[in-house]
Amino acid sequence: MDLIESYKEELKLIRKPWTRVWVGAFVLLLILLPWFGPEHFTYTATVIFIYTVGVLGQNLLIGYTGQISFGQAGFLAIGAFTFGHLSRFGVPWPLALLGAGILAGLFGILVGFPSLRLKGPYLAIATLGFGIAVYQVFVNSELLSGGRMGLSIQKIEPVFGLSRITFNYYFNFLIALFFTLATYNIISSYMGRAFIAVRDNDIAAEVIGVNLARYKLLSFAISSFYTGVQGGLYGLFMGYLEPNMFTFMESITLFVAVIIGGLASVEGSIMGAAFVILVPQVFSEYREMVPVVYGVTILIVLIFEPLGLYGRWFKMRLYFRNWPFR
């Protein structure tokens, strides 16, 4: 989309000096938010950070690799409950979070195997089946789900004398920032280019030497690692877990976030995560209308702006950059 003249320029995270200014301003705003914004904003932003991690992972899979998945709630549940059980055994949280991600990633590889044979709609059903099977296993097994009362998780004690809400905000902000940068690195490396090649034409990709099996499975593994970590973070944030947090609707929410935010864009994933969190908050008076808003937005996005919110934003930027020419 931008004109890129050298590989070095391609690898740059920020290409225009002005972009540097507003990205800097945006990050500064986020850092200052807990001190000046109302507590309610801080709380919402924390949830958006948590979702950003999962949406980024889902976007790597759907947007970059072109493999559809309706089973993200399954990975979310696996990540969250792994984290819950590990932290109950007294494992420190960084290791528990890593464990949640890795176990979800292993299941991702398992679910990825059908993707080697199945395409498009068939893969959608296979992953959907997985998501719901995981949910029902958790519902039916009290040992895994922690019984009727749910699984309670000990929250991290705030450090540096911060309030709990502020601490949670910075904690999740740093983790979301880490995963955002990691995603930028993945997509500008060989791996990311291989993903995009698999999406655009898998046979052509195999002909020019991309190992199809490896990169499809890798994409599933990375995506579900992200989702697993999101599950762990969510559990840590809420302080308790129950299977009903991970219904089919949760998969749809993550999916909607990717589509509305914009396929194959990191900024779009963040916008999508913000969208799916903010819409239910704005429409809190009419809770049952939230799916309608999602649905209408999907129809509008797919028919008029296939690149989603990011595409719209990108075109606006382009317009102002070239102003008064067009």
Binding site: I68, G120, P121, A126, G129, V292, G295, L302, I303, P306
Partner: protein, 293 residues
């Protein structure tokens, strides 16, 4: 042995409902290559429409007929107002599937808004508690009726597809779209009709499920997913496959619930999906995929 037959019979009744849902999904997939993720919600909307009419003291036959028509019109309107504009803008196959997800979300929200989220019981002419005894077997009036209507609908559908000019046009359109167009078949109308028919079969299933379950905006989610499993099991491309798949799934689910564990009953269908897709993705009666490079 009696117990075994009992499980088989109750499985056949639920299986015929799955078969109706699966038939609709297979019909849409065969003609437009779209997996209709909003099918369950179209069905729910139709059933709620019948419920509203019944609340206004309409006769059962009128209410049910109107509901079937309502579902069909809804699906056809979606095809004409959303899918065709999207296809004109060259939406990908994945994009079209996502559009059906969008339709499902919209309908789900609207049904919840206008119908309420409280579970309600659905008045029905056939009763769930009146039972007939055949030897040692017990059959409720409702499941007997469900099975009968399911078989009748499948039979009528078969006659429509195989014995009429309209059915010939439908088969031609799903076989080869450009060829059908050059032969002068109004393919767009035929495809819209397929969508309408599929929704009609779905609403029929919903009407017979609603008295057995309680009516709430999400009551079709599970039967819809099972219908999906049934369609996959029989082969998404094959209409007889959908019926066979539905009946097999219904019976085996009932047996699994009876002999293994009742908790296992619901998970069973999803294991079936994954297993079938791993071992034989084209399904029992489907044709094998051959892809040109």
């Amino acid at each position: 042995m009696t117990q075994f037959l009992q499980y088989v019979i109750s499985g056949l009744a639920t299986g015929s409902v799955y078969a109706l849902v699966a038939l609709g999904l297979a019909l849409i997939y065969r003609s437009t290559r779209i997996l209709h993720f909003g099918h369950g919600d179209v069905t729910t909307a139709g059933t709620f429409f019948a419920f509203t009419l019944l609340g206004l003291k309409a006769h059962f036959i009128i209410a049910f007929g109107a509901a079937l028509l309502f579902g069909a019109v809804l699906a056809m309107a979606f095809y004409f107002c959303v899918l065709i504009p999207a296809q004109r803008r060259e939406a990908t196959q994945l994009g079209q599937i996502i559009l059906t997800v969008g339709l499902g979300l919209i309908l789900q929200g609207l049904v919840a808004h206008f119908g309420g989220t409280e579970p309600q019981s659905f008045p029905f002419p056939l009763s769930d508690t009146r039972i007939y005894r055949l030897g040692g077997l017990v059959v409720s009036q409702l499941s007997l009726g469900t099975f009968g209507i399911g078989l009748l609908a499948c039979l009528l559908f078969y006659l429509l597809v195989q014995k009429t000019r309209l059915g010939l046009a439908m088969r031609a359109t799903s076989e080869n779209l450009p060829a059908a167009q050059t032969m002068g078949i109004p393919t767009r109308q035929i495809l819209a009709l397929s969508w309408g028919l599929a929704a009609l079969l779905g609403v029929l299933a919903g009407l017979f499920l609603a008295p057995a379950l309680l009516l709430d905006p999400f009551f079709m989610l599970e039967p819809f997913l099972k219908g999906f499993a049934a369609a996959i099991l029989g082969g998404l491309n094959s209409l007889p496959g959908a019926i066979v798949g539905g009946l097999i799934l219904g019976v085996s689910e009932s047996l699994a619930g009876g002999y293994v564990s009742i908790a296992f009953k619901n998970t069973f269908a999803f294991l079936v999906i994954i297993l079938v897709l791993m071992v034989r993705p084209e399904g029992l009666l489907g044709e094998e995929f051959i892809e040109r490079v």
